[in-house]
């Protein structure tokens, strides 16, 4: 050590550009989540399952629109379309929810996210918004195809198109309800495990195991029990709400005078799932 030690300037610089705040982080996570839901920006393997579901749903809508324009019969209304696609929505939720939240846990990046100016509410909000948009788009785009099919084969010009639009908008609102409930339940289950496989299995199990409960309750010898049976499963719960709000829906559900009960449970369930999600992300493990 002949010379005195010196500190060399090796060129580290401070970042002096603009710093984007919480809003930008939220926006970036939302866009990323929405792209991840459909496998955009990922390998071809990640696109197979989401686009399989999208393909089937769109195909069904195209067939429905074609049948209607050729024969004039309406095989499925906009609300009935969402009900009929319920199995595929479950499957889609089981694909997307683990993709959005389980991957982050598995990769151990949650502490990195939360070392930014990002709060738990922002993280949960961005993920929920992305998944709601994805599921809503899954239903709304085919519904729009059905609308186009009906609008272009109308007989009485604009007045029929306006009538049709009056049918489409409640259908879109109904799809939003589906998206909210399935997002809440799906993300809540997926946020409990870092393994995508277990998360997907858990989501499907929850939705599948509630369906037979409805079947059993609806054969109990009590008309109240039969009318309340739909409360036991998320799918029939939403059908019940739709039946109450739009009595012409003909979903095959008999809700009697319990329509408000269905609506209250749906809102409570969505709110409870979101609150539990927030509670889940109050502390994250560093793995």
């Amino acid at each position: 050590m002949s010379e005195a030690s010196v500190i060399h300037d090796i060129g580290y610089q401070r970042y002096t550009g603009p710093r984007l705040g919480r809003g930008a982080v939220f926006g970036a996570m939302y866009v990323h989540g929405l792209r991840a839901a459909f496998g955009l920006g990922r390998s071809a393997k990640a696109k197979i399952f989401p686009w399989l579901v999208v393909g089937i749903v769109t195909l069904v809508a195209v067939i429905l629109a074609a049948v209607r324009s050729q024969t004039g019969i309406v095989p499925l209304t906009y609300l009935g379309f969402a009900d009929a696609m319920s199995w595929l929505i479950i499957f889609f939720a089981a694909i997307v929810a683990p993709e959005l939240v389980s991957r982050d846990m598995r990769a151990g990046v949650l502490p990195l996210y939360f070392s930014r100016p990002l709060r738990a509410a922002d993280y949960v909000g961005a993920k929920v918004a992305a998944m709601v948009t994805a599921i809503w788009a899954l239903l709304a785009v085919p519904q729009f195809i059905m609308f186009l099919g009906a609008a272009f084969t109308t007989k009485n010009g604009m007045s029929d198109v306006w009538d049709e639009l009056g049918d489409l908008l409640p259908g879109w609102g109904y799809s939003l309800l589906w998206a909210l409930l399935f997002t809440g339940i799906g993300l809540l289950i997926a946020s409990l495990t870092g393994k995508r496989a277990f998360a997907a299995g858990g989501i499907v199990a929850v939705f599948l195991m509630t369906t037979p409960v409805v079947g059993v309750l609806s054969i109990l010898p009590s008309s109240d029990a039969q009318q309340l049976a739909g409360l036991a499963s998320p799918m029939t719960l939403i059908s019940g709400v739709g039946q109450w709000l739009i009595p012409t829906a003909n979903s095959g559900m008999n809700v009697g005078n319990f329509g408000p009960v269905y609506a209250i449970e749906a809102v409570t369930l969505i709110a409870a799932c979101l609150l539990l999600l927030l509670a889940r992300y109050r502390r994250v493990a560093a793995l």
């Binding site: 037979p212 409960v213 059993v216």
Partner: protein
């Protein structure tokens, strides 16, 4: 071989996620008890509970979670390397894993099905359901074990099989029933103890032969696949 089985069983039950296996069988027993308590006729509730919930949901979903878990989670973790580098024949590894998967899923699905059958009709029906569920667990486990070796997303593919192939197509397209394990299980239970609750749609010969083909074929394919197994990193 027993060590591999021991490690697998500990991997399955050592964590909290083993509790995930509980709600499904409990729900099955609970619903059967509820219907029995309300004196609903078994011909009304037997089909939705035993077939709709028991044979169409509990048995395949439990087999799916367990069957893909025994090998799939080790592949995910990368710990499968430790077993593969030991001087063990691949056959022993697969047989040990398959054995654990079958025992676990058979226990979790056959016991509640036995109780449900007992409540619906008689102990004989319950026993028939339990035997058929055990056979079904064997076939499902072999299939899902093979899936976990063939693809990185075995659970999703298994769900496609359960939901789309057996659930949707099985109802409408009669040809797919020949390749549906659920139909073999129904036929087997119906033939052991004839009951009005179950409606078999394929013949007994078909279900026995095809069931055996499923088990042996998937088992052999898994062994063969594990022989030339290459570890891949996290993809997609």
């Amino acid at each position: 071989m027993s060590t591999v089985a021991w490690i697998t069983a500990r991997g399955l039950f050592g964590r909290r996620r083993a509790l995930l296996l509980l709600p499904l069988p409990l729900l099955l027993v609970g619903l059967a008890t509820l219907c029995r308590a309300y004196d609903v006729r078994p011909s009304d509730w037997g089909s939705p509970v035993i077939v709709g919930l028991g044979l169409a949901v509990v048995l395949p979903v439990v087999s799916l979670i367990v069957g893909t878990g025994v090998l799939g989670s080790e592949i995910d973790d990368g710990t499968i390397v430790h077993i593969l580098t030991k001087p063990l024949p691949r056959r022993d590894i697969i047989l040990a894993k398959l054995g654990v998967a079958v025992v676990v899923s058979a226990l979790t699905s056959a016991v509640p099905l036995f109780i449900a059958g007992l409540l619906a009709e008689s102990a004989r029906t319950g026993a028939a359901l339990a035997v058929a569920a055990t056979v079904g667990a064997l076939a499902y486990s072999a299939l899902f074990l093979l899936l976990s070796l063939l693809t990185r997303r075995p659970v999703l593919l298994g769900l496609v099989y359960i939901l789309v192939w057996e659930g949707l197509l099985g109802q409408f397209v009669s040809g797919t029933r020949v390749l549906s394990i659920q139909q073999y299980v129904i036929t087997l239970a119906d033939k052991i103890s004839p009951t009005g609750l179950l409606e078999s749609k394929v013949s007994l010969t078909v279900s026995i032969v095809m069931g055996a083909i499923f088990v042996v074929g998937c088992g052999l394919a898994s062994i063969d696949r594990l022989r030339s197994f290459s570890m891949a990193g996290e993809t997609s």
